[in-house]
């Protein structure tokens, strides 16, 4: 270590359990961080500050205003900029000795193995279930320890997967959640919401577990699921055994290479297809004039961008259901397709059988038909 490094890291090298030996291990380590979002911000900040030698940042997205209640690595002057690039720039100023690899792309079954292979450890701060299964399976196949964390409203989960202990790899995501529930049961931050400070707590916990795994220090959450509820400040730490039925790591593995994770997480794909229309199908229907379009977003979202549908916010669909025809073509839409599916499920309980969901919502329309629509 240089004299400057000795000073920079002195507050942690002074700790007996960490010491200069711990610091040397971090300086020689490499970590891949998936997602530079709500969880990614504290993960990246604290891993950089701690002196990890090389950090890969995977994010294809750009900074938007609704990120700023939790993604504290970015600011109002950076709206529209690349999250991965902007992160690298900020983090390099925090610790010039850390090397950063910017991966401005979406991780998928084609590129995941090559992306992950060069790193010692992976931290998953992604925001959808398909990516979580993908990263889990790839890390298992490559024998890489994986730090897991996820958030919803006031609740967060943390665990450590594939960690080597006594020569054996610990449990993984498929021991926790063997099969995904239908998509509408797994709301994202944009559909379900998240209190801004929650990813700060959970992301920092993930960075802490990453450091412990890299330094082989203390006792990690391998084989355990930690659940934090910020609303009542309660914690649960549950023991998760490796399952013999795990299709990846169980007694009779059925998954030996990466699969199609989008399809896997969509569940009953055929059912869905019949109940969904694509934005191109909707465009055609609108041109033909034979469709009623119901928009279940909030007023202010409608003001930002709309497709001329009838506005009935999700929490009003039941009380205002007489405005929705019970026959003919009715398409229900929202921002990304989650709330509209929920509206359809609610209306089904009232006997509706003619409702179709707009796949991907207005954001899909923007991406495929009208780029002039304002994003939010």
């Amino acid at each position: 270590m240089t004299k400057e490094d000795q000073l920079r890291y002195s507050r942690q090298t002074i700790i007996p359990e960490f010491g200069e030996a711990g610091q040397e291990k971090l300086l020689a380590s490499s970590v891949l961080v998936i997602g530079a979002g709500g969880l990614g911000a504290p993960i990246l900040q604290y891993l950089t500050a701690a002196g990890i030698g090389r950090i890969g940042i995977v994010d294809f997205d750009e900074v938007s205003i609704s990120n700023l209640q939790r993604q504290v690595l970015f600011n109002t002057h950076e709206l529209g900029k690349s999250k991965a690039q902007t992160s690298k720039q900020k983090l390099s100023a925090l610790n010039p000795a850390t090397e950063f690899d910017v991966h401005e792309l979406a991780i998928n079954a084609t590129n995941a193995m090559d992306l992950i292979e060069p790193y010692d450890l992976v931290v998953d701060g992604s925001d959808n279930l398909a990516t979580r299964y993908l990263v889990n399976d790839a890390c298992f196949l490559l024998n890489k320890p994986l730090i897991y964390g996820a958030i919803f409203r006031f609740e967060g989960q943390v665990s450590v997967f594939n960690a080597l202990e006594n020569g054996k790899r610990g449990p993984n995501y498929r021991d926790l959640f063997p099969t995904p529930p239908p998509p509408e049961m797994v709301p994202s931050c944009s559909e379900g919401g998240v209190i801004g400070v929650l990813p700060g707590i959970i992301g920092a916990m993930m960075a802490s577990e990453a450091i412990k795994v890299l330094c082989q220090m203390g006792t990690t959450l391998s084989g355990k699921l930690f659940i934090f509820d910020a609303l009542d400040f309660s914690t649960h730490t549950l023991n998760v055994p490796a399952s013999a039925d795990n299709p990846l790591s169980g007694k009779h593995p059925s998954i030996t290479e990466l699969i199609d994770y989008e399809a896997f997480c969509m569940g009953q794909v055929e059912d869905k297809a019949q109940a969904e229309v694509t934005v191109h199908q909707l465009q055609h229907m609108l041109e033909e004039g034979n469709v009623t379009l119901i928009d279940v977003r909030e007023d202010y979202e409608y003001e930002i961008a709309n497709l001329g549908g009838e506005l009935i916010p999700l929490n009003k669909v039941l009380s205002r259901s007489e405005e929705i025809p019970t026959d003919g073509n009715v398409v229900v839409m929202c921002k990304m397709g989650g709330r509209s599916q929920k509206a359809i499920d609610l209306l089904k309980s009232k006997g509706y059988k003619n409702l179709k969901n707009l796949k991907g919502g207005i954001m899909a329309w923007r991406a495929e038909i009208d780029p002039e629509l304002q994003s939010y």
């Binding site: 992604s126 919803f152 926790l176 529930p181 239908p182 379900g192 509820d229 009542d232 549950l238 023991n239």
Partner: protein
């Protein structure tokens, strides 16, 4: 027999509260799952979820005891 059900994520939405006492006549986790689905049909969509009892993940054939805390943890995907 009474158990306490503690629900996280979307399971909390379905129960409409985080904790509830459930009076039930079965013996295993599978029985409790069935009873929850009857009372709250939306649980059918979470049929594949594992349950934790007190501090441990358990299988469907796990036999519950009175006053156990049963924890329902659906996956959450936010980041």
């Amino acid at each position: 027999m009474k158990v306490t059900v503690t629900a996280f994520g979307i399971a909390k939405d379905i129960l409409n509260k985080k904790q509830t006492e459930v009076e039930y006549s079965g013996t295993t986790v599978a029985d409790l799952r069935q009873q929850l689905i009857q009372e709250f049909p939306e649980f059918a969509k979470l049929a594949s979820l594992k349950f934790a009892v007190n501090t441990d993940y358990v299988n469907d054939d796990f036999v519950l005891n009175s006053n156990d805390e049963v924890v329902l943890i659906p996956p959450v995907s936010g980041g």
